[in-house]
């Protein structure tokens, strides 16, 4: 049966040290969860470079879909509406361009936000804020939680974290 050990650190540099100790003790990245109330610096936590986001591609996809959607709406509604156009194009490109631009923007915005929520695993209303040390996040501490087996592993983890905190 696994167990979680938590520790709160004042300085991100102490966390760095603790992580190194945990690594030496054989814990993998998947066992350790780091949480903070502000983004952690890339130099202190180079692991963050490994985190990927699909954001730019999703924003572009949303933009393409939004633009295409609104262009289609305008083109279709212009052609079905029985206006006498006197030989002029039914779908006037310059005026349609304005609407299409707004479609591109709203598509990109909505897709960006949806991607943020998806990648962050939000919303998850009742899961957060209930950990034993979560209130330390409000004080700008960094929380480290380690998943380990019952017994010796727990002691190792707690020891490593406690040493770093001191």
């Amino acid at each position: 049966m696994s167990k979680r050990t938590h520790a709160a650190f004042v300085s991100p540099y102490d966390v760095r040290e603790a992580l190194e100790r945990l690594e030496q003790d054989g814990f993998s990245t998947g066992d350790v969860e780091i949480r903070s109330s502000a983004p952690l610096d890339h130099d202190v936590f180079p692991e963050r470079h490994a985190v990927h986001s699909r954001m730019p591609w999703m924003a572009l996809t949303g933009a393409a879909l939004g633009g295409l959607g609104l262009f289609s709406l305008v083109a279709w509604s212009s052609s079905v509406y029985p206006l006498p156009t006197g030989g002029m194009p039914i779908v006037a490109i310059p005026t349609t361009g304005v609407i299409t631009f707004e479609g591109i923007a709203i598509g990109a915005i909505l897709c960006t936000v949806a991607t943020v929520l998806y990648e962050c695993g939000l919303p998850g209303l009742w899961s957060a804020g209930t950990g034993p040390l979560d209130h330390h996040l409000a004080d700008d501490h960094v929380l480290v939680s380690v998943t380990c087996d019952e017994g010796a592993s727990t002691e190792w983890a707690a020891k490593a974290l406690e040493t770093a905190r001191e």
Partner: protein, 457 residues
């Protein structure tokens, strides 16, 4: 100051930010009550107009656009305070942006909400607004997408949606901070429940931070052209019509510059009031006022340049109908408005802002108030000045607002203040996590400097 001492000071400053959310503040409560009362005037006047018909407003032939459209343009202009400025500062990674982004973004959102009300009020029959929504109806017709008014709806809807989300995304980690505090101190209160809902389960893992930052960056890039498009399209409401002193190619950029100018003005006033009222001078510092004051000065010069260019070409062109409107504006019955506008928008800013002492909080707030008055007059002159003189002689007319229109205008100011008071009491007006991030970067720079000095022989 040592790193730990700095951290302790930062924590005590944060307490100042959080106080309005956790403790009763009489000033804020009274402010909310008064502004709420003024806001009631808007709904009373609007209700009166709905029940007694649009005839109670002063708009009539040939001035069909009066106070309502003036206020629409004015509020949409003010909305350029926040999201656009915040986005530009984020994209350029200006470090001093951190304390001002949220109070600026809130201005945008509330100003847009109020600005968006005015076309509804102007309709007279607001319940038929849905005719503009592109859905199949029993009428079998569609909105005319070739009309600039339809572009307005699309642009404002996009900007409002974007601004709301752009305000909310960076708010999530702060709501999580407040949730974590509240769940420890006062777990079974409405406040804790509210913060919990607003934080939507934010945990602050590296993956979450990475995605959030990427999302904010993407939004900042997207929102800048949207903001520019909004006021350009508002200007096209006028410029696409062949009316004297409206049909101008520079109306788009002229409106955008004017919008940002009025936006910065309201931001300066809001920041001054927040600094005074909440005692958060350590965030809204003199440096921030100085930097924004310089931006303000640049826009004063730009606006003056555009106004000069616009009027010079009309005067030089000497077209009869254009000169008629021009003369009335410069020398005639609107000259009082025009010259007041020139004093408030050009003379006062140029007399105060070039000097470092003038770019202190009080100086910039005074200029901000003056510019707000001037920019409202500018919109009034554009709307009413031109419509009073159309191309046919027998349509010459004049316009005077009725008490209903004035009530709605004053009420809209009350509504803006009310929304802002409520916002200040429910969310941290300065982004806590962004300020913390800035603090961490400072610590890192200190450590690096220390390490470098130790390495030196």
């Amino acid at each position: 100051m040592t790193v730990s001492a700095r951290a302790a000071t930062a924590r005590s400053h944060e307490e100042n930010l959080i106080k309005p959310l956790t403790a009763f503040r009489p000033k804020l409560f009274v402010g909310s009550l008064i502004s709420g009362g003024v806001m009631a005037l808007l709904f009373y006047s609007w209700g009166y107009q709905i029940f007694n018909d649009i005839g109670v407003a002063g708009i009539n032939r040939p001035v069909f656009w009066g106070f309502y459209i003036t206020n629409f343009v004015f509020w949409i202009g003010i909305s350029h305070a926040g999201t656009l400025i915040s986005a530009i500062l984020r994209v350029t990674q200006a470090e001093w942006r951190r304390p001002i982004t949220r109070c600026a973004e809130a201005i945008t959102t509330f100003a847009l909400m109020i600005g968006g009300l005015f076309p509804l009020i102007h309709l007279g029959r607001p319940w038929i607004f849905w005719y503009m929504v592109p859905i199949p109806t029993y009428r079998g017709i569609w909105p005319n997408f070739r009309s600039p008014l339809m572009w307005d709806i699309m642009a404002i809807t996009t900007y409002l949606t974007g601004s709301l989300l752009y305000l909310y995304l960076p708010l999530i980690p702060d709501m999580a901070i407040l949730r974590d505090r509240a769940l420890k101190e006062t777990p079974k209160t409405l406040r804790a429940f509210f913060f919990r809902i607003m934080a939507i389960g934010w945990r602050g893992t590296p993956q979450q931070w990475h995605s959030l930052e990427a999302g904010i960056k993407a939004m900042a890039v997207i929102i800048i052209p949207v903001a520019v498009s909004v006021h350009t399209i508002v200007s096209w409401d006028f410029a696409m019509a062949i009316q004297p002193m409206w049909h101008s190619t520079i109306f788009g950029p002229y409106f955008v510059v004017g919008a940002i100018y009025s936006g910065v003005a309201v931001l300066m006033v809001a920041m001054y009031l927040l600094r005074k009222g909440l005692g958060i001078g350590e965030y809204l510092s003199d440096k921030v006022f100085n930097n924004l004051g310089l931006l303000f000065l640049a826009f004063a010069l730009l606006w003056g340049y555009f106004t000069f260019a616009e009027h010079l070409t009309v005067w030089y062109g000497n077209e009869h109908i254009e000169r008629l409107v021009f003369n009335e504006r410069i020398f005639g019955k609107y000259s009082g408005f025009f010259w007041t506008m020139m004093v408030t928008n050009v003379l006062i800013p140029l007399a105060i802002l070039p000097f470092p002492k003038g770019r202190k909080p009080l100086g910039t707030a005074i200029v901000g108030l003056a510019v707000l008055v001037g920019m409202w007059i500018e919109r009034y002159l554009i709307v009413v000045g031109t419509l009073s003189y159309t191309r046919l002689d027998y349509t010459v007319g004049t316009y005077a607002p009725s008490w209903t229109e004035m009530g709605i205008f004053v009420g809209s100011i009350g509504m803006f203040l009310f929304l802002y008071f409520v916002f200040v009491q429910t969310t941290p007006i300065v982004s806590i996590w962004e300020v913390r991030e800035g603090h961490h970067l400072e610590v890192k720079a200190q450590r690096q400097a220390l390490a470098a000095s130790r390495e030196e022989p």
